[in-house]
Amino acid sequence: MFEKLLLTALLPAGIAAGVILILLRSRLLPESLAPEHGLGAGALGIGAAYTACHLLALDEGWPGFPPADVTHWALFGAWLATALGLAEVAVYTRFEERPAIVQPARWIPRIALSAGLVFLILSGLAALEETWGSPSLPMLVTGLCAASVLLFLQLDGLASQRSQLYGTLMLSAALGGTAGVVMLAGSAKLSQLTGSLAASMGALFGLVFWSSALTPLRGAVPVIGFVLVAVLVCACSFTDLPPAAAFLLILTPGAARLGRAGPLARAPLWVSVLIGLLGIVGLLGGAAALTHAAAPEPYSPH
C-alpha cells in the first residue's frame, strides 16, 4: 500500500518533468506552441502525468469507453483538456494582442467541456434518473459550470504571474490539501488522482526553479481545471463531500493569489508564500471541518 502511495507521488512528477524536458530539448513542438517557454509542453506533461496515474496507480487499468463507472470520465476529460490546452496556447501565441479573439476562443470550449463533463458524471447518479425531464438537472449543470468558471478564473490568475515559482508552489499546496479533504470524504481513489496533480505541480516548480524563463503552468491550466472539476463533482455526487466544502476547495487557488495581491506583489517571495499558505490552509481547514461534520452515522435498518 505504501508503495502505491509512493507511485502516486513519484510517477506523475517524473512523467510531467520528463515529458516537458524531452519536449524542450527536442524542439518537437511547433512555434505556435511556444516551445521556448514550455507552454505547450506544460499541457502535454500534465496530461501525460495524469493519464499514467489514472491507468497505472489505481489497479483498474483501461476503464473502457464509455466507462461503466462514471468517475473514469475524469481520464477522458483530461485528454480533451490537454488538447484544449494546446489549442489555447496556439491561439494565445498567434493572437496575443487581440483579446477579442483570445477570450472567446478560451472560454467557449472551456464552458462547453465543463457542461459535458458535469453532465456525464451526474448521469451516473441513480437518484437523478427520476429527474431527467425536470428543470432541476439543467439548473444543477449550470450551477456546476459556473463553479468551474470560477475555478478557471483563479487558475488563470495564478498562471499569469510573471514568475511561476509562486504559482506552482501554491497550487501544489492547494491540490495536496484538496486530496486530503477528498480522502476524508471517503475516497482514496479520487484523493490519489488529485494528489497526482499536486505531485505534477511539484515537478513544474522544480522545472521553473531550474529555468525562470519557463511558464508551463499557463498551458497546463485546462488539464488541472478539468481534472479538478471532475474529481470534485464525483466527490460531491458519490462520496460524502458537502457542496459547501467543495466550494471552499475551488476557492483555494484564489486564496493563494492573496500572497501576491496589491503591495505584496513586491514583497519577498517567502512573505508571499507565508500569506498565500495561510489563506489556503484556512480554506482547507474549513472544508475539512464541513466534511468531517457531514460524515454519516453507521447504517441501521431500525
Binding site: E60, S237, T239, P301
Partner: protein, 194 residues
C-alpha cells in the same frame, strides 16, 4: 351411466393432479429479519475481515415436483453494507468500491435450478449476479434447511448457500494486494409462503 362415472373420475383425477402440482409450486417472500448475507475478505493477507449486507428482499419459488420450474430473485441494497466500522463502511460505499450512488442494488436472478440430492435436499442454482454494473452468471450450491409452520399461522422455508466470487470480475479492483480478490459469501434465507 358408466361413461358418466368414468368421465367424473377422470375429471376428478385431472383436478386432483392439477391441485397437487399447484400445491407443490410454493412461492415465498423473503423475510428480511431472518435472512442474512455475510461476507469475508482477506485483509493484508493476514486476516479475514467479515461484514454483512443488511437490507435484502426478494422471492423464491420451490417446485418439488418440477424443480426446473423453481426460481429465485433476490435484491440487496448495496448501501446497507455493514462492517462494524463507520469510516470503513463509508469507504466501501464510495467510488473506490461499491459506488452505491451509481449502483444502488445488487441483484441475483436464477436462470436454472436443479435438485441434486433428494435425501439431503441439495440444489444447484445457476443465475445472473449483478454487482457494480457488471452481470455475470454464477453457480451456487444451495442446502434447503427445512420448511414448516410458524407460531403465527404462516408457513416458512429456509435455505443456506456458501459461494465465492472475485471482486475483480465485477470491476472492483481498487487496493489489490491490500484487500483480497476472493470474497466468500454466506447467504441464509428464510421466506414466508405467500
Amino acid at each position: 351411466m358408466r361413461n358418466t362415472t368414468i368421465a367424473v373420475c377422470f375429471l376428478g383425477l385431472l383436478l386432483g393432479t392439477t391441485r397437487q402440482a399447484q400445491a407443490q409450486a410454493e412461492t415465498y417472500k423473503v423475510d428480511p429479519v431472518h435472512t442474512m448475507v455475510l461476507f469475508r475478505i482477506k485483509h493484508l493477507g493476514v486476516s479475514y475481515t467479515h461484514g454483512r449486507l443488511n437490507d435484502i428482499s426478494g422471492r423464491f419459488t420451490i417446485d418439488t415436483a418440477n424443480p426446473a420450474a423453481s426460481k429465485v430473485e433476490l435484491e440487496i441494497k448495496a448501501a446497507s453494507i455493514d462492517t462494524n466500522d463507520a469510516k470503513r463502511d463509508q469507504h466501501l460505499k464510495g467510488p473506490d468500491f461499491f459506488n452505491v450512488k451509481q449502483f444502488p442494488r445488487i441483484t441475483f436472478k436464477s436462470t436454472s435450478m436443479t435438485r441434486t440430492d433428494d435425501a439431503k435436499d441439495l440444489w444447484e442454482v445457476k443465475g445472473d449476479l449483478s454487482l457494480h454494473g457488471v452481470t455475470k452468471e454464477i453457480t451456487v450450491k444451495v442446502e434447503r434447511v427445512g420448511a414448516g409452520k410458524d407460531p403465527w399461522g404462516g408457513y416458512r422455508s429456509g435455505a443456506e448457500m456458501v459461494f465465492t466470487i472475485k471482486r475483480s470480475d465485477y470491476k472492483m479492483n481498487y487496493m489489490e494486494g491490500a484487500i483480497g480478490d476472493e470474497v466468500r459469501l454466506t447467504v441464509a434465507v428464510e421466506g414466508i409462503r405467500q
